[in-house]
């Protein structure tokens, strides 16, 4: 039962794109970081030595063997909080990229496939939304809807998708006149089927690339917003709000802000390396 799958994986491994990816050292570094982050996120409960929300030591203790990165202003273990925060932040980032994909891909398919008026309406919308500073929009919406992580993700989700439309539409325009699409149409396939079965699979490569790269940016935006707004400081472990808590004590407890920020940098760097590697292998001419 698994033979076709294994066969397919073997063929993928031998493909020119995979060979290009395998030779790219930075891509491997990215893959390693991303795997480590995902591992931390999944097994946070086993890796973290302490409960992330529990007070386990003195306040603002320096790094020691007992508390690897010290403790925060109420005495919670910073290392454990970071480990648990990767789970929350990765989840938020995935949710955000999921929203962008769910909105952007259908619009890009429709715009590229039908063309004409629908296309120009959608692209006008895209151009308009490019002028929306969406970090500020998320702050505004959080002010209106209340400060919570879900508000932030939804606010960013409903306006951050234009680049997905652009990428998918570009790819659709390129394959729309291919023979296999024309023949599917000649055989009387429904538009929806043609889009999903013939056109979408072709835009998968650039889609994977921008999903990876925008996961990196979404982590930065989300942490910036949780840094600014009081969301879940006490009840959750989240990297941005941890930085926000450390900000006032930076002068005397530098390791706190430094370590939390470095973790963000490394995670984002991992996704950027992976995304760049995927782009070089799959779609070198994609500009993002």
């Amino acid at each position: 039962m698994f033979t076709p799958l294994i066969e397919r994986a073997r063929r993928m491994w031998a493909s020119p794109a995979a060979r290009k990816f395998r030779r790219n050292k930075l891509a491997w570094v990215g893959l390693a970081i991303v795997s480590a982050v995902v591992f931390c996120a999944i097994f946070a409960d086993f890796i973290a030595p302490y409960d992330p929300l529990e007070i386990v030591g003195p306040k603002k203790a320096p790094p020691s063997r007992q508390f690897l990165l010290g403790t925060d202003d109420v005495g919670r273990d910073i290392f454990s909080r970071i480990i648990h925060a990767t789970r929350l932040d990765l989840g938020l980032g995935l949710a955000l990229v999921g929203l962008w994909t769910a909105i952007g891909v259908p619009l890009g398919l429709i715009a590229g496939y039908y063309g004409g008026k629908i296309d120009s309406v959608i692209m006008r919308l895209v151009d308009g939304l490019y002028a929306f500073p969406y970090l500020v929009f998320a702050i505004a919406m959080a002010g209106i809807l209340g400060f919570s992580l879900s508000t932030i993700v939804i606010a960013l989700g409903i306006i951050g998708w234009p680049q997905f439309v652009r990428v998918v539409r570009g790819k659709v325009l390129a394959v729309r006149t291919e023979v296999y699409v024309e023949s599917a149409r000649a055989f009387g396939e429904k538009d929806r089927n043609i889009m999903l079965r013939y056109v979408l699979p072709n835009s998968l490569a650039p889609l994977i690339v921008i999903m990876t790269l925008s996961l990196a940016t979404s982590l930065i935006i989300i942490s910036a917003l949780t840094f600014l707004l009081p969301v879940g400081v006490q009840t959750q472990a989240e990297l941005g709000s941890m930085l926000s808590a450390s900000f006032g004590y930076m002068r005397d407890y530098w390791w706190w802000a430094t370590s939390v920020g470095l973790v963000i940098v490394v995670i984002v760097l991992g996704f950027n390396f992976l995304g760049d590697g995927l782009r070089d292998a799959l779609d070198p001419r994609l500009r993002y």
């Binding site: 505004a140 209106i144 910036a224 600014l228 002068r251 920020g261 950027n272």
Partner: protein, 335 residues
């Protein structure tokens, strides 16, 4: 000449774009769950007081009437409502209520400040920050990118490419915090908790520009590498032009096109980043105004005003970039 017509055509497109964007913004704020009257009156207001606020701000009217009143101040407040206010308070009461952005009547915040006045004070600060950041980003980015492309494969190239990757992956506010720590250890003072017009501004602009520096440097490098292999560069060299003229006049000018494209996409980011860095460096700009308008409770009108100002800025910045783009790339004018 095509250029003037191009600019005029762009300007004509902008007006409907701004109307649509402002209406979209208005809808987002007013259709979101959460009663604007409740936000204005505060959590302890009773039903009667809410009703009064609705009357005063015109929140009982249909949404498009509210939008028109917010934007152009027409139709204005109910004459009957105005008559009910005692004469001596009338002007003071009405000064709280926004009545037409285009007429400059933005009302007052819960702190009694005139919103128009606050924006007038804080906008230049944010503009200074963003323009400074952009200048730093363009200067540093072009320099690093060109050097990396010309010294391809050397340690300089390696360092600038790696630096760019880090710059792209760093939250700008954290970079600002780290720069503060460095300044603290070098000079023994911290330009954070207090606003220092030169030190805070320079540090904040550098941190804000870091991401853009990195992406411009990357783009410049790849674009220069592509362009420098073209035939016209070889022709320019054969013609006997100095290497400097070849690089700047023929290489860079053609490499600029994708760089400007990427710059346009990043302008909205610049304002978002400015809000965060203003918080980090205690800079009294639009970001401060934005955060003040949602803490401790939200004033929906101030939120919309501040946001609209940023959107207008972004749109005009995009227009400028478009013009620059057309200037660098003559092909686009004939499309």
């Amino acid at each position: 000449m095509g250029m003037a017509r191009f600019v005029i055509r762009r300007l004509i497109i902008i007006l409907p774009l701004l109307i649509v964007l402002s209406f979209f913004l208005f809808l987002c704020i007013h259709l979101a769950p959460g009663d604007p009257a409740r936000m204005l009156a505060g959590p302890y207001a009773n039903e009667n007081q809410l009703e009064l606020v609705r009357k005063a701000y015109g929140l009982d009217k249909p949404i498009y009437v509210q939008y028109l009143r917010w934007l152009i101040g027409w139709p204005g407040p109910d004459p009957q409502y105005i008559e009910n206010i005692p004469e001596s308070y009338r002007e003071f009461y009405m000064s709280y209520i926004p009545n037409g952005i285009l007429r400059g009547d933005l009302g007052r915040s819960w702190k009694c400040e005139s919103i128009a006045q606050s924006i007038k004070e804080k906008l230049p600060v944010t503009l200074e920050l963003t323009v400074l950041a952009l200048l730093i980003a363009i200067g540093m980015g072009l320099l690093l990118g060109i050097v990396a492309a010309l010294k391809r494969g050397t340690i300089v190239d390696y360092l600038s490419t790696t630096g760019a990757l880090f710059g792209l992956s760093m939250p700008s506010y954290w970079l600002g915090m780290m720069m503060m720590l460095v300044v603290l250890s070098l000079f023994g003072f911290m330009p954070s908790y207090e606003y220092h017009p030169t030190a805070s501004m320079l540090l904040a602009a550098t941190a804000l520009g870091a991401f853009h520096t990195a992406s411009i440097a990357r783009m410049t490098r790849s674009s220069m590498l592509e362009v420098m292999g073209e035939d016209y560069i070889r022709t320019a060299r054969v013609k006997g032009l100095s290497e400097r003229a070849v690089i700047l006049k023929h290489g860079l000018k053609n490499a600029l096109i994708p760089i400007i494209t990427i710059l346009v996409l990043q302008i909205p980011w610049l304002f978002g980043g400015a809000v965060v860095l203003e918080k980090v460096f205690s800079i009294p700009g639009m970001g401060r105004l934005m955060l003040d308008s949602i803490f401790p409770h939200t004033d929906p009108f101030v939120v919309m005003d501040v946001f609209l100002v940023l959107v207008v800025l972004t749109v005009f910045a995009n227009l400028l970039a478009d013009i620059l783009y057309a200037y660098v790339n003559p092909k686009i004018r004939y499309e």
